[in-house]
């Protein structure tokens, strides 16, 4: 791996249906800073209907938050009951898993496995900008050689040479193989492309390269 991005938070995106109790943890994204607007979600009181429970490797609760439930609008005029959770949780060295709980019952758990490094395998097998057959505007990036693993996902970001902003093209993918559509970067002549592994609560840059777009 090239770099440990020294994450101090994880942004947990989950959904919960407060009528049925069904839900899931959809994304856990390590981040260097808070990315949610609700900066001060309080600790979860024991009776809170929905909790994100932080546990150590032994399964012991080491913290919890009562996430803000963002109920859907435009839902046929009924009482909305499906909610999105966009919650930053602070990372600690002990943190091993995050559980989504509804009325005391575990709905879903994010419990990453230990991750072997993939950097060398990636570098040996990855494509960087190979045009797709019959579609020269679409460029393959990454490799199909890496197997999916629980708690591990991949993200590809790009920064065209006419912008300062890294743009996320794919997030939460179980394997590091991507397609980049160069028409999404009008006016650019080259593109910095970064493949990142979100491994549990760590974010690692797998590789970063510059691709020419006008060839």
């Amino acid at each position: 791996m090239v770099d440990d991005l020294a994450s101090t938070f994880a942004h947990v995106i989950a959904n919960i249906d407060t009528a049925s109790g069904e839900g899931s943890i959809d994304y856990v994204l390590p981040s260097r800073k808070r990315t949610a607007s609700n900066m001060f979600a309080g600790p979860a009181p024991d009776k809170a209907k929905v909790r994100l429970v932080l546990k150590d490797a032994a399964g012991k609760e080491i913290g919890s938050v009562r996430p803000e439930l963002r109920f859907e609008a435009c839902d046929d005029g009924r009482q909305p009951h499906r909610a999105l959770i966009q919650q930053d949780v602070e990372l600690s060295d002990d943190l091993a898993s995050v559980a989504l709980e509804f009325e005391g019952k575990v709905v879903d758990v994010f419990h990453p496995e230990p991750v072997p490094p993939i950097g060398e395998q990636f570098r040996n097998t990855a494509e960087w900008g190979l045009p797709l057959p019959g579609n020269p505007d679409k460029l393959a990036v990454g490799t199909h050689a890496v197997e999916p693993q629980a708690g591990v996902s991949y993200m590809v970001q790009a920064k065209p040479d006419n912008s300062d902003q890294w743009q996320t093209l794919s997030v939460g993918k179980s394997t590091p193989d991507f397609v980049i559509d160069k028409n999404q970067f009008p006016g650019a002549s080259s593109l910095d492309v970064r493949v990142t592994q979100n491994a549990g609560f760590k974010q690692l840059t797998v590789e970063e390269k510059t691709m020419k777009l006008d060839e």
Binding site: F71, A73, G77, Q165, W166, T168, V171
Partner: protein, 414 residues
């Protein structure tokens, strides 16, 4: 409607002395005997300074650096005969400051037989002299607007009285920061891939610039692969919103302005895959991370819309939720009435008194023309009713929320 001045067929004077050649001397207007009917004094009924929505008293807040039009209403019954009237404004930030002179967009075809009431003239852009203010004069602060000249085409300046000036205040408003993400998906039934057409992004962006209480839209867009496929089910919109929430988090972690609102567009595949839009939350305090998703496609009369895209008002509705706007409850029975403070009957832009008129100042790049939108015929964009535009209630509320977001999440402070 926003066209250039036209000489409506009035002949140039035949006797033209050398010194009236525009290359050697200032152009002189023709003598009165060659002009139209003699004018008695013209009475100006009102001066209205309008952006997206306005009352004749100009009571709706004017946003600094937003496209602005001035309407000058003339009592045509005071004229001696039919005449093409032209006008010029003099506008100044202060009474002693430098003035800018602004010509009317078009002539007013004035007719003494025309006794249209002011209240009705407001619904017709052709019933007033209209002026587009240059951006140099719409900066935050006061603006003194005076009628400088009115004259019949080819004639001398006319005398005028009545309401000849108006002073208004332009107020700073932050830009609307939008990242619009097209989600490209595969329909497993047909094998086809569906991507929002460029027109949907363009219409939404333009609509937000025209209708929202903002000077400008800081816009970026991209198309990425959706993490869902068609046929859609009731989970699809949740997956769309979770996906753009994830994209947002990773981009904010990499320097995106945390005040940026993220909105997904999902193409309706000519009606085959319609994903009903959803905002995930109606925050009661500033929360620019609230995400929303909207369908896009060709309206074919959907909600009274016959142009090239319904992504404009539909997206503006879902974004309205992300700024804390609830449903007014109209048409009754089709949506919850969760905004108890919504002031206008039937979700309209105005009550029957027609106090408020919507103004779409148009977008030449998209061929959208200047229009006055009758307040009792159009509906607020937070309703589900036909012919949507923004009402003063929604305009002011989003304006206030934008200021709160701008301050609270200024990246220089956080």
């Amino acid at each position: 409607m926003m066209g250039k001045h036209e000489n409506k067929g009035m002949a140039r004077p035949q006797i033209q002395s050398l010194d009236s050649n525009p290359y050697v001397a200032p152009r002189r207007r023709v003598t009165s005997k060659l002009s139209g009917p003699a004018l008695s004094q013209i009475t100006i009924q009102a001066i209205e300074i309008c952006q997206a929505i306005q009352s004749v008293e100009s009571s709706v807040t004017l946003i600094a650096d937003k496209a602005t039009m001035v309407r000058v209403y003339i009592d045509q019954t005071s004229l001696a005969g039919g005449v093409q009237l032209r006008g010029e404004l003099k506008v100044r930030k202060t009474a002693t400051g430098p003035a800018t002179y602004v010509p009317a967009l078009e002539d007013l075809a004035a007719d003494p037989q025309d006794a249209t009431k002011l209240i009705d003239k407001r619904n017709l852009t052709g019933a007033s002299l209209n002026f587009r203010l240059p951006t140099t004069v719409t900066a935050a602060g006061a603006l003194l607007v005076e009628v400088n000249r009115i004259w019949p085409a080819g004639g001398d300046d006319a005398m005028f009285g009545g309401v000849t000036s108006s002073t208004v205040e332009f107020v700073y408003g932050p830009p609307l920061r939008i990242r619009c993400i097209g989600l490209r998906y595969v329909d497993t039934g047909t094998g086809q891939t569906h991507t929002p057409d460029a027109v949907h992004f363009a219409y939404l962006r333009s609509f937000l610039e025209r209708a929202y209480p903002v000077p400008s839209v800081d816009w970026s867009q991209i198309v990425v692969e959706a993490n869902f496929a068609a046929p859609f089910n009731d989970q699809t919109v949740l997956r769309a919103n979770a996906q753009i929430a994830a994209i947002r988090s990773s981009e904010v972690d990499n320097g995106m302005d945390p005040r940026t609102h993220y909105l997904a567009l999902v193409d309706d595949a000519r009606g085959r895959n319609f994903m009903r839009g959803r905002a995930m939350g109606i925050p009661d305090a500033a929360a620019p991370d609230t995400v929303a998703s909207a369908p896009c496609g060709v309206p074919n009369g959907f909600a009274g819309d016959h142009d090239l895209s319904y992504a404009d008002w539909y997206g503006a509705h879902e974004l309205g939720h992300t700024f804390g706007r609830f449903h007014p409850g109209f048409p009754a029975g089709t949506q919850d009435a969760s905004d108890p403070d919504f002031p206008f009957e039937e979700g309209q832009l105005s009550d029957a008194d027609q106090k408020f008129v919507g103004y779409d100042l148009g977008d030449a790049g998209l061929g959208i023309r200047l229009q006055a939108l009758a307040g009792t015929h159009h509906h607020d964009l937070m309703t589900y009713a036909e012919r949507q535009w923004i009402c003063a209630h929604t305009f002011e509320a989003i304006r206030t929320r934008l200021i709160e977001e701008d301050r609270q999440f200024d990246p220089a402070i956080v």
